[in-house]
């Protein structure tokens, strides 16, 4: 299998993952400059007023950063039963963005689960964590994520992120790309 994304290329494939409802589809849609591809279908269980569809294939979008990097953005399905898609989508990807839904019972545990699942594809230096809905449980902050992730062996950048805002998603991507620039240099 040939990886068409050359190490010194300014085109990078970036993968978004996280639990159902963490905002992968929304993030890709918010930042993409062209119409995105989505494979959302109605949820057969666990649907809410604000979340009635779920991704079963992948999301796809594209964007460009100010420093000339062209990014191909892929979003995974969140559920464990679609793990086979995670491995397919991770092939040839440069970096990983894990989105956390802070309103869930153990969002840090969720993040650790995804980091472990993708550890074979991405080193920690090519991973960024974005935490959404932080205001729903303000007593637990970003530092808590950093501490627990470090304890689990993952020293990765963690940022508060509103996936509906393009500038927030752009910041996550910029951090990943700055890691690429360091590697290329």
């Amino acid at each position: 299998m040939v990886n068409l994304f050359l190490p010194n290329s300014n085109e990078l494939k970036i993968l978004f993952t996280g639990t159902v409802g963490a905002g992968k589809t929304t993030a890709i849609s918010a930042i993409s400059e062209k119409v995105t591809l989505s494979t959302d279908v109605p949820m057969s269980e666990g649907a809410t007023e604000s979340k009635s569809q779920t991704t079963v294939g992948f999301d796809y979008g594209e964007c460009e950063l100010a420093d000339g990097f062209s990014l191909h953005l892929y979003g995974t399905p969140g559920q464990e039963r679609f793990r086979f898609m995670w491995d397919i989508l991770a092939k040839g990807a440069f970096g990983l963005i894990v989105l956390a839904d802070h309103s869930r019972p153990d969002p840090v545990g969720d993040v650790i689960g995804y980091l472990k699942a993708f550890a074979g594809h991405f080193p920690a230096r090519r991973t960024v964590v974005g935490v959404g809905r932080l205001n729903e449980r303000p007593s637990i902050g970003i530092e808590h994520y950093c501490e627990r992730l470090a304890q689990a062996g993952f020293n990765v950048p963690v940022l508060e992120t509103d996936v509906r805002k393009a500038e927030d998603v752009r910041l996550l991507l910029s951090i990943l790309v700055s890691m690429a620039e360091v590697e290329i240099e």
Partner: protein
């Protein structure tokens, strides 16, 4: 794939699973070469399967859901209507995915066959099975 999602009660769910099990057994009995048959929701949850292991059946359900959604995304991209079925062929046989038509409860019917299956008979029986399922499922949610 953009159906309105409605939730089944536990009783309806069991009823539908029981009916699907009967349908699948009937399909396997009258279709040569079938190795397994599975019915899953659009989002990849197993409704019924002839596959013995739950994990193996659930994997087929999730993959069926992904393949069907990706096929629909591809046809949408080229301005074609969503496909009613997807057919994969390999040295060992065929895998067919059928979208269950007109069902309020969106489902995908998947049949895995070896070379003993005759394509015409297979397609005919798959369509017949999915239509029976659609008719039955419509009694729950119209």
């Amino acid at each position: 794939m953009n159906k309105t999602n409605q939730t089944l009660t536990e009783v309806q769910r069991k009823d539908l699973t029981a009916y699907c099990t009967v349908l699948l057994n009937d399909f396997c009995a009258k279709t040569a070469g079938v190795q397994s048959a599975t019915i899953a929701t659009f989002d990849g949850v197993t409704v019924a399967s002839t596959i013995i292991g739950k994990t193996e059946g659930d994997k087929i359900s999730a993959m069926s859901s992904s393949i069907s959604a990706l096929a629909a995304a591809l046809t949408n991209e080229v301005k074609h209507p969503e496909p009613d079925r997807v057919l994969l062929e390999s040295e060992h046989g065929r895998i067919i995915f059928i979208k269950v038509p007109a069902a309020s409860v969106g489902m995908v019917f998947t049949a895995v066959t070896n070379h003993n299956a005759v394509l015409g008979t297979l397609l005919w029986n798959c369509r017949s099975t999915s239509e029976r399922l659609a008719a039955y499922a419509s009694k729950f949610l119209g």
